[in-house]
C-alpha cells in the first residue's frame, strides 16, 4: 500500500511540471506579448526615443520573444527572476521581503476559518433546523455574498472610525517592529519575549484576518454541515448510538472523523483561494504583503515582479492542492491512487 502511495506521489509531482510550464507560458504571454510596451510607463511619457530604446536593450526586451521566454525559464529555475524595473533590486529580494506578511495573514485566516467553520458546521448539523442552524446558514450566505473589500471597509468604519479600538492599516507600530527573524511578526515577537510588540501585531491582524477569512468560513461551514449530515445518517452511527455510546462521543469520534475527509479537501482549496483574496484584503488594510505589491506592480508595468509573483503563487497553490490530495488518499484508503489521473 505504501509503495502505491509513493508511486502516486511521484506521478503527481511529475504532472506538476507541465502545469507550471504552462503557467509560466500564460503569464509570459500576457505580460510580454499582449501587454503594452513598459518603457513609456517606467521612464515617463516624455523620455526620448533613444533613452527608451536603450532601456529596452538593457532589459532584454528587444531580443526575439522566444529567446526572452527561454531566458526567463532558465533563470526562473535557479530562482532568479531578474530585477525590478523601478528599484533595480533583485525581484526575489523584493518578494521575500513581503512574503512573510502574506503568509502570516493567510495562516491566521485559514486557522480562523477552519476552526470556526468546522465548529459551526458540526453544531448546525447536530442541531439541524434550530436557531443555531438558521443563524449559521444566514452567516454563510452573507459570507459568500459580501465583497471582501467591503467587509474590510465596514470593519474599519466600526472598529477604527467609530469605536477607535483597532488600527486600520499596517502590520505593527514602526518602533515595535522586530528586527530579523522569520518575518512572521507574531512568531518573532513571541519567541523574543516582546509581549508588547506581540499584542500590537495581534491587534493589527484581527481585522484583515476576519475580512479574509469570512468567505472561507462560509464555505467550510456549509461543507462541514452537509458532510456531517451525510455521516450522521449512516448505519454505523445508528449502531453506535444503539450501543449506548454518549451523543457527544458519537459526534466527535464516529461522525466527525469520517466527515473530515471532504472537509479537508475544502479547507485545502480555500487556502489556495485565500492567496487570491489577499490581493484585495491587503489593498484595503495597506498590509505590506505580496498581494498589494502585485497590484501596484501590475499598474506600473513592472513585469519581472508580476511574472515572478504569479508563478510563485501558482506553485504554492498547486503544491497545496497536491498535499490535500495526498492527505485525502491517506485518510481514505478506499481511494485507488494508482489508477487516478492528475
Amino acid at each position: 500500500m505504501y509503495f502505491d502511495l509513493i508511486k502516486y506521489t511521484i506521478k503527481r509531482i511529475l504532472l506538476l511540471i507541465p502545469v507550471l510550464f504552462g503557467v509560466s507560458l500564460v503569464v509570459f504571454l500576457i505580460m510580454r506579448v499582449f501587454s503594452p510596451d513598459p518603457a513609456p510607463v517606467v521612464l515617463g511619457e516624455h523620455a526620448s526615443r533613444e533613452a527608451m530604446q536603450a532601456w529596452r536593450n538593457a532589459h532584454g526586451l528587444n531580443d526575439p520573444i522566444v529567446w526572452q521566454f527561454i531566458d526567463f525559464l532558465k533563470n526562473a529555475l535557479t530562482g532568479n527572476f531578474g530585477t525590478s524595473y523601478y528599484t533595480n533590486q533583485p525581484v526575489m529580494k523584493e518578494i521575500m521581503a513581503r512574503f512573510p506578511a502574506t503568509v502570516e495573514l493567510a495562516i491566521c485566516a485559514i486557522l480562523f476559518a477552519s476552526v470556526f467553520g468546522v465548529l459551526l458546521g458540526v453544531v448546525s448539523a447536530v442541531r439541524k433546523n434550530t436557531a443555531v442552524d438558521y443563524a449559521s446558514t444566514i452567516l454563510a450566505l452573507i459570507g459568500v455574498s459580501m465583497p471582501i473589500f467591503w467587509l474590510g471597509i465596514l470593519l474599519i468604519i466600526l472598529f477604527s472610525g467609530t469605536l477607535h479600538i483597532l488600527p486600520s492599516t499596517g502590520r505593527i507600530q514602526p518602533m515595535l517592529q522586530p528586527v530579523g527573524g522569520t518575518g512572521l511578526y507574531l512568531w518573532d515577537t513571541l519567541t523574543s519575549g516582546d509581549f508588547e510588540a506581540f499584542g500590537d501585531a495581534a491587534r493589527h491582524l484581527i481585522m484583515p484576518t476576519l475580512a479574509l477569512a469570512m468567505y472561507s468560513l462560509a464555505i467550510i461551514t456549509r461543507m462541514t454541515r452537509s458532510s456531517m449530515l451525510d455521516t450522521l445518517n449512516q448505519d454505523y452511527i445508528r449502531t453506535a448510538r444503539s450501543k449506548g455510546i454518549s451523543s457527544h462521543r458519537v459526534v466527535k469520534h464516529h461522525a466527525l472523523r469520517n466527515a473530515m475527509i471532504p472537509i479537508t479537501t475544502v479547507i485545502g482549496l480555500q487556502f489556495g483561494s485565500l492567496l487570491g483574496g489577499a490581493v484585495l484584503t491587503e489593498t484595503v488594510f495597506a498590509w505590506p504583503g505580496i498581494g498589494s505589491y502585485t497590484v501596484q506592480c501590475i499598474q506600473k508595468s513592472d513585469f519581472p515582479v508580476v511574472q515572478a509573483v504569479v508563478l510563485i503563487i501558482a506553485t504554492v497553490y498547486v503544491l497545496i492542492n497536491l498535499i490535500v490530495d495526498l492527505i485525502y488518499a491517506f485518510l481514505d484508503p478506499r481511494i485507488k491512487y494508482s489508477k487516478e489521473e492528475g
Binding site: S35, P147, G276, Y317
Partner: protein, 305 residues
Amino acid sequence: MDKTQDTAAEISLSTQEFLEKPESQWKSMWDSLKKNKAAMVSLAFIIILVLIAVITAIFPQVLPHDPYEQNMTKTFLFPDGRYWFGTDQLGRDIFSRIMVGTRVSLSVGVIAVAVSMTLGVVFGSLAGYLGGKVDSFIMRIMDIMLSIPSILLAIAFMAALGQGIDKAVIAISLVSIPEYARIVRGEILSVKENDYVQAAKVIGDKDGRIIFRHILPNVLSSIIVRATLGISSAILDASALGFLGLGVQPPAAEWGDMLGRARNYIFQAPYTLIFPGLAISLTVLAFNLLGDGLRDALDPKSRQN
C-alpha cells in the same frame, strides 16, 4: 362503494391530465421553485433591478439628480430627504449613481457569464465527447488557468488589455471558462454512455447533432444553475476590479469603482462607502439565493439537507 368510485374517478382524471399534458421538466422545476420563498423574493428583487437598469437608461429624468453632475459646494452631504444616500467627494448624488450603476453591474454579470459559458460549453463538450488527446489538451489548459487565483489572473489580463469596463468583461469571462468546461465535460462523460446516445450513433447521427440534440439538453439544467451562481461571482469580480481602479472610466458610475474612489474618505464620510457596498452585496445575495433555489428545484435530493 362511493369512496372507491371517487378514488377511481380521481385516478382516471389524473391519468387523463397526465396523458393530455405531460408535465415538462421546466414546469415541475418552476412549481417547486415557487414554493421556495427566498428564491422567489430574490427573483422579484432581480426583476426590479432589471427594471431599474432599463428605466434609468431610457428615462434618466426619473432619477432625483443627475448622477454625473459635479458640485463642489455640495460635497459630502449627509443623507437626508433631498439626497437619500448623501453626496460623494465630487458632490454627486450617491443614490442616482447607484441606480445607474445597476445597469453596469447587471450587464457585466450577464455578458461575462454568457461569453464564458458559451466558450466553456464548447471546450467542455469537445473534451468530453471526443476524449483522448483533445480531452487531455483542453483540460490541461484549463488546469493551468485554474492554478492561478482568478482575481490575480483577471488583474493580469486587465494590465495587458488596459482599463475599461469592456475589458473587465473580457478578463472575467476568460478566467471563468475552466469552471464551465469542467462541469460540462463531467456531465457529458456521464451522459455519453447512455443508450439513447449510443442509439443515435447507430442511426448514423453526426457528432454535432448528437451533442446539440441529445447531450446538451440533458446537461442544460446544471449549466443554468451554474450560470445563475456565475452571475453573482462575475458581479463580485467586476466590483473587485472596479475597487482596484481597473474598471469603468470616470465619470461612469460602477459600484466597486465608487467604493474604490471614496475609500480615502472612510473616516470623514463613511456613508459614501455603505450604500454602494450594500448594492453589490444584495445583488450578489439575490443571484446566490436564486441559484440555490434552482439547484434544489432541479435536484430533489439536495433539498433534504
